[in-house]
Symmetry: C2
Subunit: 196 residues, 2 copies
C-alpha cells in the first residue's frame, strides 16, 4: 500500500473513531470518511484490531517526531512537552480523547492495543527522562532522578486525559500542578524562559 493511501485510511479512521466511538466503528464508516473503498481497506487490514493498531502506531510516530528537537535547550524542550501534553485548546470539542479512552479500556482484551500503549508510554517517558538528564548535566536543573520525573509527568498526563473525558476538565488544571512539582524536583519553573 502506498504511503498516501495508508495515511488517508488512518486519517479517515481517526474521523470515524471520533464520530462513532470504538464500539460502533466499522470499515464501512471509515470508507465513508475517505475516497478509499471498504473493499480496499479490508484488503490492506485484515481486522479492525489491525487497523486500529496501525492507527495507534501512527499516533506514536507523530507524537515522537513532534517532540524530537534534540538540538535545543532542555528547558525549551520540556516546555514543548508540556505544551504538547497538557494544552488541548478545546477539551471535549472533538471525540478524540474519548476514543483513546475507549481503546485503553479495550487494552486488557487486545494485546496489540496494550503493546501500542506501552510503546507510547515508553516514548513519552524516554523523551522526558532524556530532557531531565540533559538539563541536569547542563546545570539548568537540580540533581533529580530522570526516570522518576518522567514517570510523574507521564502519569499526570494520563490523569489529565482521564479527567478531560470523565470530568470535562481542561488539562491546563493539571499542567499547573505539574509545573509546581517540576519546580520542586528540578529547581526550575517551566515557562520561566530560557534566558532568565
Amino acid at each position: 500500500m502506498d504511503a498516501e493511501t495508508r495515511s488517508e485510511i488512518l486519517e479517515a479512521t481517526n474521523r470515524a473513531l471520533c464520530e462513532h466511538g470504538y464500539a460502533d466503528l466499522t470499515v464501512q464508516r471509515i470508507a465513508d470518511e475517505s475516497s478509499v473503498t471498504s473493499a480496499a481497506i479490508h484488503y490492506h487490514f485484515d481486522t479492525k484490531e489491525e487497523l486500529l493498531n496501525a492507527f495507534l502506531d501512527d499516533l506514536i510516530e507523530r507524537f515522537e517526531s513532534k517532540l524530537s528537537c534534540e538540538a535545543s535547550d532542555p528547558r525549551t524542550r520540556l516546555d514543548a512537552v508540556l505544551d504538547a501534553v497538557f494544552s488541548r485548546k478545546d477539551p471535549g470539542a472533538d471525540g478524540f480523547p474519548v476514543a483513546i479512552m475507549e481503546l485503553k479500556a479495550q487494552a486488557p482484551y487486545h494485546e496489540l492495543f496494550r503493546d501500542r500503549f506501552l510503546d507510547f508510554d515508553g516514548v513519552m517517558r524516554g523523551v522526558v527522562a532524556d530532557i531531565v538528564r540533559d538539563g541536569v548535566e547542563a546545570g539548568h536543573f537540580d540533581e533529580a532522578d530522570p526516570e522518576e520525573v518522567a514517570r510523574l509527568v507521564t502519569t499526570m498526563s494520563n490523569g489529565a486525559h482521564a479527567r478531560a473525558v470523565a470530568l470535562g476538565e481542561h488539562p491546563a488544571e493539571t499542567r499547573r500542578v505539574v509545573e509546581d512539582a517540576l519546580e520542586l524536583h528540578l529547581g526550575w519553573t517551566p515557562a520561566s524562559g530560557v534566558d532568565e
Copy 2:
C-alpha cells in the same frame, strides 16, 4: 425499596459489570447475579443509566466512609488514603477498573455519570485537602497549598487507574512517585510512621 434489596442489586451490578463490561450489561445479567428478578430491578430502576448512577453513588459513599477517620493523626490519615487509592493487590485480576474506565468514557454522553465522577473527585480532593490543612496546622507538614496537594494526589490516582487498565501496571509504581512528591511538598515521607 429496602436497603437490603438495594444493596443486593448494586452488588450484583458490580459483578455483572466486571464480568460483561458496560456495553454488554443488561438487567437480565444483573438479575442472574442475584436473587432479585429482572422485573423487580426494572421496578426500582427505570433505566440502566439510573441503575449505574446508583451504583456509582454507592461507590462514592463507601469510599467516603472508608476514609472518614477524622480523629486520628493527619499522617496516619494520609497513609490510609494512599493505601486505599494505590494498593490494588492484584491489578487486572477482576474487571472492576476496566468497568470504571468504560463508565468514564461514557461520561461525555451521560450527565448523571459525569456528575457522579465529579462528586467522587470532590470527595477525594476534599479528604486530601483536609488532611493537608490539619497536618500543616499541627506542624506535622511544611506549609503547602492543600488544594494543590489534593489535586496532585487525585490526578496521580486517575493516572494510576488508567495505567492499570491500559498498561497492566501495578498502582504501586505511581504510589512511589506520589510519595516522593509529597515529601517535597510537605517535608514528610509517607509510611515513615507517626512516631518518628
